[in-house]
């Protein structure tokens, strides 16, 4: 409690120590006077008593002085409370739902659902609390930040805090909510703003996995064929004139990259770097950028190019993919507007809905079309590409 972890902690602890100090003085005073009287006026030592019926001014004194003290105590607590209830304007919002017996988190600014709560250090965080209408009352409590507020079914309540030091902090449920009340504990992780961005991208990448992310990591699952995107055809349209049909650079020998040789690459021969090259070109060379290709098409071409590399080139790691998604915000890329016959769509949908909710979510209708491409289990052989 000595090193405050947040502005609210500092304010609450200050009030708390003042109250404790005054209380200790009063307690010690009452106890010592009581013991002193019990010893000083013990029966063995007293022959006479003094019958005093009262003393009005003394009574007024010990009514007025405590009244002043408690009024001051009220303001001590009030001051901290005002701080607690004055949410800074730049606060980032996290919506928290309590249910028997877990907490879940939604970051509206990132449109992100999460099972963990991660916040950037130094950033004010407004927690908007609720519980589902058919659930019970919970209470969101972070002891280290001295904040607590009930999550009431069907209502919105709020609190805010600002973590001033990185670390893991307990989140407890403080309102009795049944059998596993004492297990309704989770961790709040306060990290540097950079780490926080990383975390958001990683979460987003996970969330948008069915879209481009999966297309990069697994072109087969992406179902390019169904989308009518053919990396090979695009290669033959745009690339073959310089790089040659086999990718050996035979169209413009000595100038165009020979994909079959490991030496002299400006970027690495990973899919992600090939994508970067397609997106940005290589300045100072004749390799230009291809903004006319959609991200989906670039992914398809990158994979095709990669398939031409026969030597032991390094493969992409999960981090590489995540970095690429973050760099170009590929998680925001909408699926290409492609249509498929209704019977085919129905067939895929019914198959998806019989699966677990996690995977079937991938076949959510998006912008009026079906994001079938992302459905990992679509067998390319089954696919019926549109002419």
């Amino acid at each position: 409690m000595l090193l405050a972890l947040s502005d609210i902690t500092r304010e609450v602890d200050r009030a708390f120590w003042w109250l404790t100090a005054i209380s200790l003085v009063l307690l010690a005073g009452v106890t010592l006077v009581m013991i002193a009287f019990a010893i000083r006026y013990r029966r063995e030592k007293t022959t006479t008593t003094k019958q005093i019926e009262g003393h009005t001014w003394l009574e007024i004194t010990w009514i007025v002085i405590p009244t002043i003290i408690v009024t001051w105590m009220f303001f001590l607590g009030y001051k901290g409370f005002v701080l607690m209830r004055t949410v800074p304007k730049d606060a980032m919002v996290v919506q928290v739902t309590g249910r028997q017996w877990l907490w879940s988190f939604y970051y509206p600014e990132e449109k992100l659902n999460a099972t963990k709560m991660v916040v950037p250090v130094g950033q004010a965080v407004k927690v908007e609390l609720t519980a589902p209408p058919d659930d019970v009352v919970h209470s969101f409590y972070i002891p280290d930040f001295r904040v607590k507020e009930d999550a009431v079914p069907g209502k919105w309540t709020h609190l805010w805090f600002r973590a001033e030091r990185a670390g893991d902090y307990n989140i407890f449920c403080a309102e009795f909510c049944g059998k596993d009340h004492s297990k309704m504990i989770t961790l709040l992780r306060a990290v540097s703003p950079e780490e926080y961005r990383e975390w958001v991208y990683a979460q987003r990448a996970k969330r948008f996995r069915p879209l481009v992310y999966d297309a990069i990591t697994d072109p087969d699952a992406a179902g390019f064929a169904e989308l009518g995107i053919d990396g090979g055809r695009l290669y033959r349209t745009f690339c073959v004139s310089c790089h040659g049909a086999a990718g050996d650079g035979s169209g413009l020998p000595g100038v165009a990259r020979n994909f079959t040789k490991p030496d002299g690459w400006k970027r690495s021969p990973k899919v992600t770097d090939i994508y970067r090259t397609l997106t940005e070109g290589i300045p100072g060379t004749q390799m230009r950028a291809y903004p006319n290709l959609t991200p989906w098409e670039r992914v398809a071409v990158a994979h095709y190019v990669r398939s031409l590399i026969k030597w032991g080139a390094p493969s992409d790691t999960a981090d590489d993919y995540a970095a690429l998604v973050k760099q170009y915000e590929l998680d925001k890329v909408k699926p290409p507007k492609q249509t498929i016959p209704i019977e085919r769509a129905m067939k895929l949908l019914s198959r998806a809905s019989s699966r677990s909710p996690k995977t079937s979510a991938a076949v959510r209708p998006t912008s009026g079309t079906l994001a079938l491409t992302a459905e990992p289990s679509v067998d390319p052989a089954e696919a019926e590409p549109q002419p």
């Binding site: 304010e11 009030a15 209380s23 009063l26 307690l27 009452v30 106890t31 006077v33 009287f37 019990a38 006026y41 013990r42 007293t46 022959t47 006479t48 008593t49 003094k50 019958q51 005093i52 019926e53 009262g54 003393h55 009574e59 009514i63 009244t67 408690v70 105590m73 009220f74 607590g77 009030y78 001051k79 901290g80 409370f81 607690m84 209830r85 609390l129 209408p133 659930d135 019970v136 009352v137 409590y141 002891p143 280290d144 001295r146 607590k148 507020e149 009930d150 009431v152 079914p153 069907g154 209502k155 307990n170 403080a174 309102e175 009795f176 909510c177 049944g178 059998k179 009340h181 004492s182």
Partner: protein, 538 residues
């Protein structure tokens, strides 16, 4: 009751021996016998509730699950709370000592409505029986507050304990009504309002709270039943009801109930301290009016239990502000008690020791109450074990301790036997150690963030829980020693004088134990309830 054959002497038979047989007890309308009936029932409920606490404290000796599942833990916790609050702390002092001594202190033969008095005991017994029965019918697991919507959703049977609370409410209302009427109508000829002992004043203030606040809890419980059984959407948020409304209604009763618990205890202290200090009470009127002030202000502070409930911020500020002012009349009482000891002639008999233990423990309870009343600090410690420690210091360290003090103070008058001093002192000393060891660590755990009503806890809280559990063993041992010492005296104790402590209130003028109609001769009202000579008689 009057048609009793008199013993050979000219004195009327004492109330214990006037009639005999179980039936004579079950149909008695003698307020003293009804007081003892309450005492008997209450000790059973108290020991039952204490054994529940001992059990779950043992479970909390170490982190992780020892021998109680979460469900069982929650049930035991609930029963402990329900039994202690509704069957011991709320009715305790008024029903036992109020019933026994209020009419005697007023110089009356009985309470105003003796039959109603017996009915309220049967309500108490029925409510207590229902509460115990619910243990065997599944056992509620909601905590004693029955918060909705959990209490409407849980599969456990909460209807029976709620009905029990409803029936107990009747008992409380009838007792309050009886006491108010008795104080107004039954005072001895010549006894004015300010000639009444302060214990009577405190019971009078309590009676009003019981009468005015208890119906609200009855209404609330009926609303829950309507919601749960007939589907009237009052509290259920899934159908548009409001769970926070329940919390308001619950605390509109249950916070004033806190003063039902503590005011009579304060009244007893105002009797004990003058008696053992041989001194008139300091500031009689201030103590009397502070009881009424506590009853009044205490009725306007209920929502300080709800600072995190999501109610409007302005309401939280108002209720915090009002709450602080309950501390003032409570402080007035403590200062007046100390001033009463000043220049007295103090004899540290067991009841006085218990009263001093009370002043210390209750001061801690009251002062930590300020930390709960203060908005920003309460947000942190609300629903943590800090609150658990706080209300055990006030309820148990306050009302419970004074229940024991009153037992030691009036035991010789009630039963005509004196207990042994040695074990009584030893029990009080052990109690003091055990009590602080059990509850003080919970303050620290609460400050460190330990939520209450947790069947299990994170390893960093082990030290607090372990100390508390070990303390609970000492605490229970001290209580058993005390009860053994008292009960033993019934058979082996010395015969007690009519006035063993030299008290000035009217109960010390009657024979010990008192006769059926309380007085064998007209009580002498010339001496006030706190009039002592300046010369100290040994």
């Amino acid at each position: 009751m009057t048609a009793i054959t008199a013993p050979p002497s000219s004195l009327p038979a004492d109330y214990l021996r006037a009639r005999s047989g179980v039936w004579s007890w079950l149909t008695t309308t003698d307020h003293k016998r009804i007081g003892l009936l309450y005492l008997g029932g209450m000790l059973v409920f108290f020991l039952f509730a204490a054994s529940m606490a001992l059990t779950f404290r043992l479970e909390l000796l170490s982190p992780g699950q020892q021998f109680l599942s979460n469900e069982t833990y929650n049930r035991i916790l609930t029963l402990h709370g329900v039994a202690m609050i509704f069957l011991f702390i709320i009715p305790g002092i008024p029903a036992v000592f109020g019933n026994f001594f209020l009419p005697i202190m007023l110089g009356a033969e009985d309470v105003a409505f003796p039959r109603l008095n017996l009915l309220s005991w049967y309500c108490f017994l029925a409510g207590g029986g229902l509460a115990l029965a619910s243990v065997f019918l599944g056992g509620p697991d909601t905590g004693w507050t029955f918060y909705v919507p959990y209490s409407m959703k849980t599969g456990q049977n909460v209807l029976i304990p709620m009905t029990a609370a409803f029936v107990l409410g009747w008992s409380s209302i009838l007792t309050g009504l009886n006491f108010i009427t008795t104080v107004h109508r039954m005072r001895a000829q010549g006894m004015g309002w300010f000639d009444m002992p302060l214990f009577v004043w405190s019971l009078y203030a309590t009676g009003w709270i019981q009468l005015l606040a208890t119906p609200v809890v009855g209404i609330t419980l009926v609303m829950v039943l309507l919601d749960r059984l007939l589907g009237v959407p009052i509290f259920d948020p899934a159908r548009g009801g409001d769970p926070v409304l329940y919390q308001h209604m619950f605390w509109i009763y249950s916070h004033p109930a806190v003063y039902v618990m503590i005011l009579p205890a304060m009244g007893v202290v105002s009797e004990i301290i003058p008696t053992f200090s041989r001194k008139t009470i300091f500031g009689y009127k201030f103590i009397a009016f502070s009881s009424m002030a506590i009853a009044g202000i205490g009725s306007l502070v209920w929502a300080h239990h709800m600072f995190t409930s999501g109610m409007a911020d302005v309401a939280r500020v108002v209720f915090s502000f009002l709450t602080f002012f309950v501390a003032v009349p409570s402080g007035v009482k403590v200062f007046n008690w100390l001033a009463t000891m000043y220049k007295g002639s103090i004899k540290l008999e067991p009841p006085m020791i218990w009263a001093m233990v009370f002043i210390f423990l209750f001061s801690i309870g009251g002062l930590t109450g300020l930390m709960n009343a203060s908005l920003s600090t309460d947000i942190h410690i609300h629903d943590t074990s800090f609150v658990v420690a706080h209300f055990h210091y006030t309820m148990f360290g306050g009302t419970g301790v004074i229940f024991f003090a009153a037992l030691h103070y009036w035991w010789p008058k009630m039963f005509g036997r004196m207990y042994r001093r040695g074990p009584a002192y030893l029990a009080a000393g052990l109690f003091f150690v055990g009590f602080n060891m059990t509850y003080f660590p919970l303050f620290l755990a609460g400050i460190a963030g330990m939520p209450r009503r947790y069947a299990d806890y994170l390893p960093e809280y082990t030290i607090y829980h372990r100390l508390s559990t070990i303390g609970s063993w000492i605490l229970v041992a001290s209580i058993l020693l005390m009860l053994w010492n008292l009960l033993r005296s019934l058979k082996h104790g010395e015969r007690a004088d009519d006035n063993p402590w030299g008290g000035a209130t009217l109960e010390w003028q009657t024979p010990t134990p008192p006769p059926v109609l309380n007085f064998s001769k007209q009580p002498d009202l010339s001496r006030g309830p706190y009039e002592y000579p300046t010369e100290v008689q040994p």
